[in-house]
């Protein structure tokens, strides 16, 4: 965390940080630590400034970014450091399964032994039944993620996989396979945000955060009117486009929250990029590949770059930054001007949509 934060501060050429916002999920459960705000300010030698931890399940990082964005927009502060951090490898696998079961309503599903993977699997089967889609189509998404991660030096899994290897990987919760889920990951990402008036140093390397919108939905997906429509995603996404005054067709890159393979089509269909039941077929036809019409998860997304919960939302935005300043190396998308990061809490009970625009 300290490494990522210090590097972000150094690269930003901002001399004074006014506040710190930290996205994190598991600190009290895995590390017996609360008050991460003060702890981070101390570790960074920034004691004295306001610093707070934000939690919204695995949308925590994006939610922290939004708080920083709001504070700067209000004029109360001029600069902020946003950090996402998680160290899941300190926990046993069953502890991590237990923690993610808290993303749903514990007293309704957690006490019955439901896991996030099982809830995603229930959506998955329902999706395949309703739209008469085969698993091979959904399995395209992890393949794209690993393809993109294979050339990303910061990715957790820098190798390619095939549709066959996804479909032959062990069953986690049928129909969901192991290569359709994220693995336990550690990670930290940091960004420095500032108002236009506080922009110092190299202005060419600054990217505009054009809007950050958030929405919520019923926590448990089958309580929603239509479990296959992620209304929090639609609302946050549309609101962020309206605020940034851009059209959906102007977006060059989407970073989306593929904590389970099935979430990729659900997000792409809830944002209108694919028709209902068609996202997997679009993926198969190359639409969402790095060289396609709308590249997604250009460094491998949650599946292959990694999913350290509270850090994930900050990673997404940091990766869009790399794309928009042209520092994405082998993963560079040509002429990328506008990127959107879609971060979810659990199975889209929280959604945060961040629009980034090259200046």
């Amino acid at each position: 965390m300290t490494t990522a934060a210090l590097e972000a501060i150094k690269n930003s050429a901002i001399e004074r940080i006014d506040a710190i916002y930290i996205g994190n999920v598991c600190a009290e459960i895995l590390h017996h630590q609360v008050q991460l705000g003060a702890l981070a300010s101390e570790n960074l030698g920034l004691t004295g400034i306001p610093s707070i931890r934000i939690e919204a399940a695995d949308a925590s990082g994006a939610a922290a970014l939004r708080e920083a964005y709001l504070a700067i927009s209000s004029g109360m502060i001029r600069t902020a450091l946003v950090i996402g951090v998680e160290k899941l490898s300190d926990g046993l696998p069953e502890e991590i399964v237990s923690i993610t079961s808290m993303f749903d309503k514990y007293e309704y599903t957690g006490y019955q032994g439901f896991t996030q993977a099982s809830l995603a699997a229930l959506l998955y089967r329902h999706y395949m039944e309703r739209y008469e889609v085969s698993q091979e189509n959904i399995a395209q998404f992890p393949v794209i993620m690993h393809e993109n991660a294979s050339t990303a030096p910061h990715a957790q899994y820098q190798f390619k996989i095939s549709v066959e290897s996804v479909l032959n990987s062990p069953v986690v919760s049928e129909p969901l396979r192991r290569l359709e889920c994220t693995a336990i990951a550690d990670g930290a990402a940091a960004i420095v945000l500032c108002g236009e008036d506080a922009l110092e140093g190299n202005r060419d390397e600054a990217i505009e955060v054009a809007s950050v919108s958030m929405s919520t939905d019923f926590v448990s997906p089958f309580d929603r009117e239509d479990p296959l429509k992620l209304s929090a995603v639609s609302i946050a996404f549309n609101d962020s486009l309206t605020r940034a005054k851009i059209d959906r067709r102007e977006v060059d890159i989407i970073e989306l929250h593929d904590s389970y393979s099935i979430l990729a089509p659900l997000i792409l269909e809830s944002t209108g990029y694919s028709q209902e039941g068609r996202a997997g077929i679009d993926a198969k036809n190359g639409k969402y590949s790095l060289s396609g019409e709308l590249p997604i998860n250009t460094f491998g997304g949650l599946k292959a770059r990694g999913h350290p919960f509270g850090a994930t939302g900050v990673y997404q935005v940091a990766e869009l930054y790399l794309q928009l300043v042209g520092q994405a190396g082998k993963n560079q998308v040509d002429n990328a001007k506008i990127g959107v990061a879609l971060s979810l809490g659990g199975l889209a009970a929280t959604a945060v949509s961040t629009v980034m625009r090259a200046r």
């Binding site: 069953e94 237990s98 032994g113 896991t115």
Partner: protein
């Protein structure tokens, strides 16, 4: 000692877990699995207790193989979504059957079963599960 199962929240949930008593909105029909004083959908304050049907249709199901703490000894176990005639859905474990006996659309019925237990505090948690309809 880590307290995994606490008495008060289980006591509070007993009507729902043992008898499927929910709070239904008089205005829009939305159900709440906890004692609600305002409807989560339409914000009406006209809510009343009602009991969910004991028979419904299976909308989706899967198997938990990697269990959370406290459920390791029960793996693999089946979980699913039951949809009742009015469209209300309920998440539940499925029991008294194997996964290959289940089909989307089949009728299932409610039963009371042990859900889990906490060896250290001696608590046993009971609740509803559903099984393929036999009555």
């Amino acid at each position: 000692m880590v307290v995994r199962i606490r008495v008060p929240p289980n006591w509070r949930a007993k009507q729902f877990r043992y008898r499927l008593i929910v709070y239904r909105c008089d205005n829009c029909g939305t159900i709440h699995q906890w004692p609600a004083i305002i409807c989560r959908k339409c914000r009406s304050t006209r809510l009343r207790q009602s009991q969910l049907p004991h028979i419904g249709k299976l909308l989706s199901f899967t198997v938990v193989r990697q269990a959370p703490i406290g459920f390791e000894e029960f793996t693999p176990y089946i979980v699913g979504v039951v949809e009742f005639e009015d469209g209300t859905r309920l998440l539940t474990q499925l029991t008294d059957c194997e996964p290959n006996e289940l089909m989307v659309g089949m009728e299932v019925e409610a039963v009371v079963r042990k859900i889990t237990h906490d060896g250290q505090s001696g608590l046993i948690i009971y609740g509803y599960k559903f099984r393929p309809r036999i009555t």
